[in-house]
Every structure is written in C-alpha cells, then in structure tokens.
C-alpha cells in the first residue's frame, strides 16, 4: 500500500519546549490511523502539523521533513490553503457555523470560488450523503445548523470538511463530546470513509482505536514509541511503554 504522508526526523518546539522528538512515520493511503497516548504526549500537536495548523501558533519551530504525496509541505511553493483543502480537519467539539445546514457545507466550496447554484447543490448533497447525515437533514437544509443534535453537528462538520473534496481527514478526538449512539455512528461513518479518504484520528478511547483503526501510533513525551498494525499493537505490543500504557499500568 502506498503512503500519503511520509515524515522523517521531525522535531517541533514551542519556544524552548521540545514537544515532538525525531518523529518518523509513513501513513498508508485509504486507511485509518489512530494516534494514542497520554495527555500532553504530542499526538494532537503532530496531527495539526500535518496540515500546517501549527503555523498559526506563535514561536513554533519545526525541523525535519514532512511529505504529503511526495511534496514537502513546508516548501515555499506550497499553498497552505490548498494543503488544508486536501487535508481537512474535524475537531473534538462540533463547531458548525451559526448559519444554515446548507451554508455550512457550501462554505468551503464558495471560498474556493464555486458560485453556481446547481453545482453547489450537488456538492452539498454529495458531502452530506458521504457524512451519513443526508437523510436526516435533506428536508431542512435551510434550518440553522445549531438546532441539530451534537452527533448530527459533528457529522455536519465532517460533511463540511468533505465538501472541498479532501484526500485526507484529520480528526482530533471526534467523538469525545458525543453520547455512545452518536459515537458509534461516527465510528461507522469513519470506517466507510476510508474507502475514499485517508483518516488520521486522535483518540483517548482505546477501544475505539481497536474497533476502528487499521494502524495505531503510540506517542509518549513527544516521542513516537510504536507504530504498528492496530491488531498487533493491542495483542502484542513490542515496546514495554506501549504495553504499560494500553493495559492501564500508567497514564
């Protein structure tokens, strides 16, 4: 399987503090990779580095090499907006814009210059269908998105990310604010999405990583301790620190 992301010897500092140390990882295309580790281990920092969201934070210094489809993401030739269109992001707390369901999904395509109503209609329907929420909202597209339930709002946010036709989705604890039913819908959705997209997901829910992901990366104190097929990590971890963390012996 070919890789969509390839990271070599990557380090990251927030001012004097080194948050990531010599990260090396290759993320396979059209798969789900889970990032696990205790709070403050650097997993979210690393996730946000992949589409250069960390550029927005002052005093961040990054060294090493990150390639997205063989392109150096820090090359001056790279258009950051285009990179973030290719690599979308979904956050922990559903954050729909205070506007209609339709406008939420059409927001991205519009900022990329699409104004044709028919074309926008198509994109909105396609994105909402891909995010498994079309049937629930098709009759109320003009209603305010804030009226949806938490789980629906999160799927709407996924639809919003899909509307710009990304290749990859970064998800930062996408279900931690949701009830078990909404969580399981998102998990099912994520597993369907990997047919078309590459997903990287930060999760604190170990069972979720087991259920959903193909690969798991375990981070600790800014280091990538182990990256393996999920089934292997959770049945036969190679590093004692991984074993101790996943079995709840620390963290």
């Amino acid at each position: 399987m070919s890789n969509i992301i390839s990271v070599k010897d990557m380090c990251l500092w927030y001012g004097e503090h080194q948050a990531l140390k010599n990260i090396n990882i290759e993320i396979p295309k059209k798969s789900i990779t889970a990032f696990i580790g205790p709070s403050g281990c650097g997993k979210s920092t690393f996730l946000k580095t992949l589409n250069r969201m960390n550029d927005l934070i002052p005093n961040v210094k990054i060294t090493g090499d990150i390639r997205y489809e063989d392109t150096d993401i820090f090359s001056p030739k790279v258009d950051v907006n285009h990179l973030r269109k290719e690599i979308g992001m979904v956050f922990q707390k559903p954050n729909p814009f205070p506007m209609s369901i339709y406008d939420n999904v059409a927001y991205g395509p519009r900022t990329h210059g699409i104004t044709n109503k028919i074309q926008l209609d198509e994109i909105v329907e396609f994105a909402l269908r891909d995010a498994a929420i079309w049937n629930e909202v098709k009759d109320r597209l003009k209603k305010n998105a804030l009226g949806l339930s938490g789980g629906q709002q999160q799927r709407l946010c996924i639809a919003r990310a899909l509307a710009v036709q990304p290749k990859m989705l970064l998800m930062d604890e996408p279900t931690s604010a949701l009830d078990p039913i909404s969580t399981s819908r998102i998990e099912e959705l994520v597993m369907e999405l990997k047919e078309k997209y590459t997903i990287v997901m930060v999760t604190h829910n170990m069972q979720q990583a087991v259920r959903v992901s193909d690969y798991t990366a375990f981070f600790l104190l800014g280091e990538l301790v182990e990256f393996e097929k999920t089934d292997n990590i959770f049945s036969q971890p190679q590093d004692k620190r991984t074993e101790d963390y996943i079995t709840g012996r620390f963290g």
Binding site: S235, E243, I246, G248
Partner: protein
C-alpha cells in the same frame, strides 16, 4: 481501576492453579487405583472430575466477566484468552482420569503384572500436567517447551504398551477383554499428555504472544 483489575487477574491465576492441582490429584488417584486395584479410590475420581467441571464453569464465568468489565488488551488479553482455552484441556484431563478410574472398577482384580509400563506412562503424564501448570504459574516458557518435548516420551510409552498388549493377547487369548481395557487406559493417558501439551502451548502464547506453528 488497574489495582482492582490486578486483583481479579490474581484471583483468576489462583483458580487456574487450583484447577491444575485438582487435575493432578484426579490422575494420580486414577493411576493409583489402577496399580493397586483400589475400587473405592477409583470411585472417588468421579467426584474429583465433577469438581473439576464445576471449577471450569467458575473460571469461565470469571474470564467472561473480566472480558466484559475490563476490555483487556495485550498481555492481559492473552492471559485471559489462554485461560479460557487451558481450562477446556484441564476439564478433558479430568474426564479422562474419570474414564480410567471407571475401567479400573471393571478389571475384577486383574493384576498389572508384565504391564508395569502403564504405571511409568501414568507417572510421566502426571509430571507433564504438573509441569504445564507450573509453567503457567511461573510464566516459564522453557518449562512449557520441555512439556511439549516430553509428549514424545509418552507417545513412546504408548507404543510400548501396545506391544505389551499384543504379547498379552498372544500368550492368553482369553484375556482379550482385559487387554482392550488396558489399551483404552493407555490411550487415555496418551490423550492426557496431549492436553498437557496444549496447556503448555497456551502458556507460551500467553507469555510471548506467538502460537506454535502447526
């Protein structure tokens, strides 16, 4: 949370050790009844086997509860899944000890003269069961591997018993039924050796995470 889980795993361990000891006792009693012709002792093995069945249920439910409550991973998952498999082998060992003891009650005072090799075979299989349980307790992969190797010794004994039985029939064809009983008994011991081997293989899986190639 982890402390509670550790306590539960400790309890599970204790129960498996106890079940192992019960199996050893059942085979030892069956073997002793066989060599001494003690029918009363043979009758006691049935109760031993029932107690082993009961213990299997208890451990099974303990494992199910741990799987449900703790959603174990890594070595915890391996330990619990190995335990679930091992107790099936232990339960079979109990059944086979019972089968041996049952035959003893039909032997009607036949002596084991000339067939002492069955006694040796019994000792070897008891040792295999003891060592496999020991290997589990100590998480000792080397000892588990030794058990697996010793299965060949038991298989050799079984061949020798078969030859002995053929001689027995040749010398006295009227003893045909007795000869068949002895064949059954030795086959049960041979199967006990196989179950001890299975237990040893699960110990290795539980410790290393790898299963022996078939």
């Amino acid at each position: 949370m982890r402390n509670r889980f550790d306590e539960q795993l400790f309890e599970l361990n204790k129960k498996i050790i106890e079940m192992g000891a019960m199996c050893e006792e059942a085979i030892a009693s069956a073997a002793k009844a066989l060599t001494t012709g003690d029918v009363v002792l043979a009758g006691k093995v049935k109760a031993d086997s029932n107690a082993i069945d009961q213990m299997e249920r208890e451990i099974e439910s303990c494992c199910m509860k741990l799987l449900l409550h703790q959603q174990p991973v890594a070595r915890d998952l391996r330990l619990i899944s190995a335990a679930l498999k091992m107790i099936t082998d232990m339960e079979r060992i109990g059944d086979q000890a019972e089968d041996i003891a049952e035959i003893v009650t039909f032997l009607n005072g036949h002596t084991m003269e000339g067939m002492e090799v069955i006694g040796d075979m019994a000792r070897e299989t008891i040792q295999m069961v003891t060592s496999s349980v020991d290997a589990f307790v100590k998480k000792d992969v080397t000892l588990a591997e030794e058990v697996i190797t010793r299965d060949d010794v038991v298989d050799d004994y079984f061949s020798r018993v078969k030859h002995g039985i053929i001689n027995l029939i040749t010398e006295n064809s009227a003893d045909g039924e007795f000869a068949l009983d002895l064949l059954m008994i030795s086959k049960y011991f041979e199967r006990i050796g196989d179950h001890a081997t299975n237990i040893a293989e699960w110990v290795i899986y539980s410790v290393t995470g790898t299963r022996k190639e078939v």
